[in-house]
């Protein structure tokens, strides 16, 4: 048993050394950000446009906090393959999400022209 104990005080594979402090600070920061965003919405403190921006900023900060404190991104030894893969994923996700919103928003605005609606209602709808 004691031999096993010694063998396991080595760092976790791919994660490195862990500290209680990192987990506690990550947890506290996440709590503060979650409750902050919740209060912003429930108390209706700001206008719609500001609210969307604030919610997104808070979500992204919490994403960053948990990536650093819980998933230890950036703590790996060089070469940083995990970080490289992560950045590739972020690029793909941004293309996917922003692209979808762009295309569908564009389609929506083209499809809702008054002439077309008039035409469609004159034909008895779809």
């Amino acid at each position: 048993m004691s031999e096993r104990r010694h063998a396991t005080s080595a760092p976790l594979p791919g994660v490195g050394h862990l500290s209680l402090r990192a987990y506690v600070s990550g947890f506290v920061a996440s709590l503060v950000l979650t409750i902050g965003a919740y209060l912003l919405v429930v108390e209706r403190a700001v206008s719609a446009g500001t609210l969307i921006a604030l919610i997104l900023v808070i979500a992204v900060s919490q994403f960053a906090v948990q990536l650093v404190f819980f998933l230890h991104l950036g703590a790996e030894a060089r070469p940083r393959w995990r970080l490289a893969m992560f950045l590739t994923m972020v690029t793909i996700v941004l293309i996917l999400v922003v692209g979808s919103l762009w295309i569908m928003g564009n389609l929506n605005s083209r499809m809702s022209m008054p002439e077309q609606e008039q035409y469609m209602s004159s034909q008895g709808g779809l």
Binding site: G26, L31, Y38, V41
Partner: protein, 203 residues
């Protein structure tokens, strides 16, 4: 905080390298799962206004309830981190207790989510009611499915640690599970923000 210094135990360099590769491979899987969730998010955001005369998120979501769900999952992510911390320091019993706590919090989350789904289905806001609700159930349901798989996996990992101690294999399994569980918490942050907060704010 007392730090237990690493004893220079004979570490098999090949085994360590193999472990590193395994963790990297799992990380790549996690990132492809991120892309899956991103496509579901894109679908949801495109469809969130298409309520077909049915209820909108603003009318359906009960925010204190969702906050409780979020807190349960966030706390479970923290206790999962504590389990890894205990495992690295060779504290078998503490690691299993922390995993049990994680399991309890994760199950609480899942129970709250299922009862919310049930409530929506009963009041006539099921997944076939509108495009908005289809996208909502697929996105949140896929996350719930991941949580279910995670709970089963966690039970297996905890049982193995309980019976065979903290060997190299158990540590590796715990590391992979930890990455998976923290990842699910990350996805939930975006579900909480984009689906629930923006839905409740009528954005």
């Amino acid at each position: 905080m007392i730090r237990v210094e690493a004893h220079p135990a004979p570490v098999d360099a090949h085994a360590a390298e193999a472990d590193e590769r395994t963790v990297f491979g799992f990380w790549v899987y996690i990132l492809t799962d991120c892309v899956l969730f991103a496509s579901l998010f894109a679908t949801y955001v495109v469809l969130h206004g298409n309520t077909a005369g049915g209820p909108s998120g603003h009318q359906l979501f009960e925010m204190p309830y969702v906050l409780a769900e979020t807190m349960a999952l966030l706390a479970s992510s923290f206790t999962c981190g504590l389990a890894m911390l205990a495992a690295v320091r060779g504290r078998t019993r503490l690691a299993v207790v922390a995993l049990a706590l994680t399991f309890a919090l994760g199950s609480t989350f899942l129970a709250l989510e299922l009862s919310e789904f049930h409530h929506l289905a009963v009041i006539g806001a099921g997944w076939s009611r509108s495009g908005f609700l289809s996208a909502y159930f697929i996105l949140v349901g896929t996350h719930g499915l991941h949580i279910t798989v995670g709970l089963l996996w966690m039970a297996v990992v905890a049982a193995r640690i309980w019976w065979s101690g903290l060997g190299r294999g158990e540590l590796r399994r715990l590391t992979l599970f930890g990455i998976f569980w923290h990842f699910l918490d990350l996805v939930w942050i975006f579900i909480f923000s984009v689906v629930y907060l923006m839905g409740a704010a009528h954005l």
